[in-house]
Amino acid sequence: AARPLKRRQPKKTNELPHPNKLPGIFDDGHGSRGREVCRRHELYVSFRDLGWLDWVIAPQGYSAYYCEGECAFPLDSCMNATNHAILQSLVHLMKPDVVPKACCAPTKLSATSVLYYDSSNNVILRKHRNMVVKACGCH
């Protein structure tokens, strides 16, 4: 990558880009193949659809979210990349068949509370940790 860049006319072929090309530098926020960058997406878990409203009092469902998208170099600040993810992305550029890209995964999770009846008709309120994605990032 330290070699001086030579200006070359782009080939008029259907070749795939060279693996050392740094994809994304001039992109508009999307990955090299038009995929979205790593971010949080909507995912609703419905207790109603599970047929559980006879024992779950509240909530009827909750937004759990999920993380999806590409962690392609350069990993900008909105992607909450770890140092390791940046280095892994660089090595991936060199050896795409050996080292995969960093993964888009939850970086911050929060709890959710569920109020329900047990089999003895006691009412129970339980706080479940790490159930809701608050933020995603490249790991």
Binding site: E42, Y44, V45, S46, L50, W52, D54, W55, I57, A58, P59, Q60, G61, Y62, S63, S110, A111, T112, S113, V114, L115, Y116, Y117, D118, S119, S120, N121, N122, V123, I124, L125, R126, K127, H128, R129, M131
Partner: protein, 241 residues
């Protein structure tokens, strides 16, 4: 109520097969720390008016979800990750005639208490109506745990809490029974017996009913109950698939 509005469907959905649905339910129950789907008994029509314990727990749920959004923390709630309510199963009185001291005893079934949880707080809640017997006087309400019952003599009791109030006061009276938790965690199979005494300022025993304290015969929204706050003492072990 739900945690936020349900998002609109933006892509075609696949219907789950019966087996897939069962597998998914089992996985979610495992994440929720439940061995199986609870099957509460259906309430008879007459008993469908809101009961005190579920109403209190719903308030607690709203306080907990508000707290998640940065609202004010509630007492005991911040440290707890499990709150259980228990409705008293048996109630005994010694209020007949002029035999003193008068007392009211409440029993709770503790078999559903989960293993591996530490009790951070426990409360007994009883509703008090204003009383005119005697008018405008100070009342001392004390709570004891029944440690051991004997056929030939008075039960062994362990003091838990004392509250002082006026005979005309009205509302929920909260008695701290956390000190009883060490013993009941060791004896899940045993019922918890709580005994309540009322004394006037000059030391006379008083029938708790005359003092305005409501028992099992009260309207459902004012029946006494117990609330226990737990914190997991270790992270739950996930069952192998």
């Amino acid at each position: 109520g739900g945690h936020g509005p349900r998002p609109p469907h933006t892509c075609p959905q696949r219907r789950l097969g019966a087996r897939e649905r069962r597998d998914m339910q089992r996985e979610i129950l495992a994440v929720l720390g439940l061995p199986g789907r609870p099957r509460p008994r259906a309430q008879p029509a007459a008993a469908r008016q809101p009961a005190s314990a579920p109403l209190f727990m719903l308030d607690l749920y709203h306080a907990m979800t508000d707290d998640d959004d940065g609202g004010p923390p509630q007492a005991h709630l911040g440290r707890a990750d499990l709150v259980m309510s228990f409705v008293n199963m048996v109630e005994r009185d010694r209020t007949l005639g002029y035999q003193e001291p008068h007392w009211k005893e409440f029993h709770f079934d503790l078999t559903q208490i989960p293993a591996g949880e530490a009790v951070t707080a426990a409360e007994f809640r009883i509703y008090k109506e204003p009383s005119t017997h005697p008018l405008n006087t100070t009342l001392h309400i004390s709570m004891f745990e029944v440690v051991q019952e004997h056929s030939n003599r008075e039960s062994d009791l362990f003091f838990l809490d004392l509250q002082t109030l006026r005979s005309g006061d009205e509302g929920w009276l909260v008695l701290d029974i956390t000190a009883a938790s060490d013993r009941w965690l060791l004896n899940h199979h045993k019922d918890l017996g709580l005994r309540l005494y009322v004394e006037t300022a000059d030391g006379h025993s008083m029938d708790p009913g005359l003092a305005g304290l409501l028992g099992r015969q009260a309207p459902r929204s004012r029946q006494p109950f117990m609330v226990t706050f737990f914190r997991a003492s270790q992270s739950p072990v996930r069952a192998p698939r």
